[in-house]
């Protein structure tokens, strides 16, 4: 180990940097502490960490919250993904641009934070699981058939046709229509408020 200094039992305190240095070195000596960035050189490039069994090297909380597609898109937009047409100036990596391109084709690009919070509040009546609400926000089903793939065991939970229609009405009313990806298939959304999206549709 480099520069092994004895641990003089100094507490980890602010102030004297020397004290702090010693205590941090002391913690390195315990229990096979291996700085993870050194591991990088020895591992396959695509697989950074081997399945993490010990939490000594990297402590983490795997799920600190699920994000809707809109929230990720909002994050990328806040960093300037939308403004930069050259894609060189904004501090966004190629992978992030690919995610951005994908998200712009989903219903997420027409949503706002108020819309989705409003929608999830109003969904309370239907007793949907969080995962189902997330699915609905991300996919924006336009018919009972689309909703069928999202809802799990609707008959057993008492979600009958009426409830499904109720959910679809809510979707129709609150969530704006998705963007026109291919110039087909979105024509039935004509009764929604987002007229500017439809202006670009090629009506068949």
């Amino acid at each position: 180990m480099r520069g092994a200094l004895p641990n003089w039992g100094l507490t980890k305190g602010k102030g004297n940097w020397f004290h702090a240095l010693v205590s941090s070195l002391a913690s390195r000596h315990d229990q096979n502490y291996i700085p993870t960035n050194f591991l990088d050189h020895h591992k396959n490039r695509t697989y950074l960490f081997s399945p993490i069994t010990s939490d000594k090297t990297v402590r983490m909380k795997a799920n600190a919250g699920t994000l809707t597609n809109f929230e990720v898109l909002d994050l990328l937009n806040s960093r300037g993904a939308s403004n930069d047409t050259t894609r060189v100036i904004a501090p966004i990596t190629t992978l992030e641009y690919k995610v951005y391109d994908y998200l712009m084709e989903t219903p997420a690009c027409t949503q706002t934070l108020e819309i989705i919070t409003n929608f999830s509040d109003q969904c309370e009546d239907f007793k949907l699981a969080k995962a189902e609400i997330l699915n609905i926000i991300n996919i924006r089903p336009s018919s009972t058939v689309n909703l069928a793939s999202i809802l799990e065991e609707p008959s057993e939970r008492g979600i009958d046709k009426k409830a499904k229609e109720g959910i679809l009405k809510l979707v129709e009313a609150l969530l704006p229509s998705p963007p026109i990806v291919e110039a087909r298939g979105e024509n039935e959304e004509e009764e929604t408020e987002e007229g500017e999206q439809l202006a670009t549709a090629v009506l068949r």
């Binding site: 480099r2 960035n37 950074l48 919250g65 994050l75 992978l95 994908y102 009972t144 087909r184 298939g185």
Partner: protein
Amino acid sequence: MFCLSEMEDTVRVPPDLLKLPLEVAIKKVLQKLLLNKVLSIGLCVTIYDIKSAEGGFVLPGDGPATYKVRFRIVVFRPFVGEVIAARFKESDSNGLRLTLGFFEDIYVPAPLIPRPNRCEPDPYNRSQMRWVWIFEEQEYIIDHSCQINFRVENISYPPVPTEQAEDAKPFAPMVITGTIDDDGLGPVSWWEGCSERNNEDDDT
């Protein structure tokens, strides 16, 4: 589809980055370390924020400054049962392969394509097979004409292979298995006519 994960790690900031503001420098190092890599929790897409960074010691005999950083990242990790809109990439006799742009290892194996179906050599593309669903005397082709909705069945993280044949497919550290065998799943064009019929039923 996306989750936040909170992590704590030791980060070494190389001396050439120390002229930048601390947060930017740490973010650069983290990006190089984590972005586009598959961790045990999923594919890391972007650094969300840096909650705290402490330390900054320069150890004897070592150039980079070492920080203990607590940060959050956005990982792509769909949950089982999530419905995702993807694009067709290729198909062969084993099944379909779909892509999201930033993630391309989504497979729909043959048993999860709605039955009855048949697989035939693609007339437009010699090397590929084409899957066709036969329903009520009508044939529905699966190709790249529109978005394909699929539901996540399983996510697996195959272990890194020690040896690989020369012409084997590049190793995929994260593989999603999906199904399109349900109402509302599969190419979006399959269900468009159906939704209009459903709307008429609901109105009467």
